[in-house]
Symmetry: C2
Subunit: 315 residues, 2 copies
């Protein structure tokens, strides 16, 4: 049971790096894959030609399996899908959209397909469409998020009961303890975003990485529920959104406030006040910028320690 994800992806550890806008290019993906996890190139912040370049570079940087994450809410999805096929990408994670749209095409092209969900309805739908696994992502996760606001602790057991395919838990996991918690809930593996966003190989701006590792409890909030829910770090932009929402701003008003390219401005260009800074609640527990391999090894050792500690509970 617990080898289902490592067997599916042909990786050493049941640890998957999350595809994150402006953080996860070929360098991070290759570093995680080389360390024995599954690295993911996040296509959400890439034009198709840029993604193509990252896939080619990842192939040169690792001979281990890696994946591409495709958020289905952007344009260019068709072009992206044909690039994935042409480059023979073996594993694709889709998110933020309907799994019925592209799962058939990807399966016909020989890809292993994983779909990210925030509720059991879409988990079942992904399974019915032929997805090989699902990511169950909770409320505490960074970036775009589910409308139900179901936390990882509540979501993972429900999804694990709802589908037969393997389940990867995401949201709030940045340590071996939390990884063990997710596995206890019924997950076959974990997906980790925030902890890898601050990896040395992450393409996030250094100012963003430093802001993440200095974040405290309560420094992220889920915002823009009337548009698309997204978890943001507090800064001038987030405060502007919070103020507008408290006054009853509608989707159109929020869309104007958001404008264009705010995530790039913050996460990639380093404008810590006006940029949109997407990160998980677990940022409050992160405090160092380290190589991805060290982060992964640290989580893995913590997982083994938690296993020993738990095995020793006798009543």
């Amino acid at each position: 049971m617990s080898r289902r994800i490592t067997d599916l992806f042909h990786i050493s550890y049941p640890i998957v790096q999350a595809g994150m806008v402006w953080c996860s290019g070929w360098r991070l993906a290759a570093a995680v894959s080389n360390a024995g996890g599954l690295g993911i190139i996040g296509a959400g912040s890439m034009y198709p030609e840029v993604l193509w370049d990252h896939i080619r570079k990842a192939k040169l940087a690792t001979d281990k399996p890696f994946a591409v994450n495709v958020p289905l809410l952007y344009a260019d999805t068709e072009r992206v899908m044909h690039i994935l096929k042409e480059e023979e990408v073996k594993i694709v994670f889709t998110s933020a959209g309907n799994p019925s749209l592209w799962t058939g095409f990807m399966k016909d092209s020989g890809m292993v397909v994983v779909h990210v969900v925030a509720n059991t309805k879409f988990a079942r739908k992904a399974e019915e469409c032929g997805a090989d696994a699902v990511v169950a992502e909770g409320f505490e996760a960074g970036g775009h998020n589910g409308r139900e606001e179901t936390t990882t602790l509540c979501l993972v057991p429900m999804v694990a009961d709802a589908v037969k395919i393997p389940v990867i838990a995401a949201g709030g996991i940045a340590s071996g303890r939390a990884m063990m918690a997710a596995m206890a809930l019924g997950a076959d593996a974990v997906q980790i975003g925030s902890a890898f966003a601050v990896a040395e190989e992450s393409s996030a701006h250094p100012a963003f990485k430093n802001r993440i590792i200095s974040a405290a409890e309560g420094d992220t909030k889920l915002r823009m529920q009337k548009l698309v829910p997204v978890r943001l770090l507090k800064n001038s932009f987030e405060e502007m959104v919070a103020q507008a929402e408290a006054e009853g701003a509608d989707a159109a008003k929020l869309s104007v406030l958001l404008g264009r390219a705010r995530a790039k401005l913050g996460m990639f260009e380093g404008n810590m006040e006006d940029g949109e800074l997407e990160i998980g609640q677990v940022s409050a527990m992160l405090n160092a910028i380290r190589p991805a391999a060290v982060i992964l090894e640290d989580i893995w050792q913590g997982f083994l320690q938690a296993q020993q500690r738990i095995g020793g509970f006798h009543y």
Copy 2:
């Protein structure tokens, strides 16, 4: 380490029933204590004389340890504290307030004191005031809730790292899997509300219990953040609040909407549309009304199964 709470309370299982308004009178508390957990009388919905009566009845119904939960946001706290002292209540859980107010009095009166927190700041404060343990309660919990919106998965490890006293995890826990997850995160015990709200011995109205066991994902939402954050089940009242909040209602407006005695109207008197129905996200996983002893035993067996399963993970 993992025996710290069972030793502190002199109970058989590290399972504590949550003090809940309109659900947890002497019958539920005695049933949970008789089954080997820690039962709690929830004083939040009781006039002092009513609480006194419940304490006396609990003493007749069990010779095992039980506790009283006192939310510090209500009036009458001084009167309640003197009743607890006069009746020689041995364990008191305080919540929704500042631990520095009453912990000294309770410790001087020989009570074991536990304070409920939603962040590390108040966990440290409780420890400094002399509390014997803290409950770390996450965003997914029912009823009144923290402003930081930190989930149980993120909160428990932070609190466990922040204090030396034992930590009881609360929010999202209604199964042995979730209990094991909480223990993996560093908790010494769990506190369980929603699952016991639907116990046969719970004083909740049958209509409320039936509504809880039919609740689906996304059927609870955290509301009234501008007043006091509270997790509510969807109904006409919750929709009225949601609508008002979407339009920018302030604390004064929300206070008028809430009015008086809405929790009693819903949870105790069974008005499922106009009442305030406080319950946790995990209600989506509950589907039966059973005796408290059966609920506790089921969680415990699930915990032992999870322990075996986790012990079998080999990579």
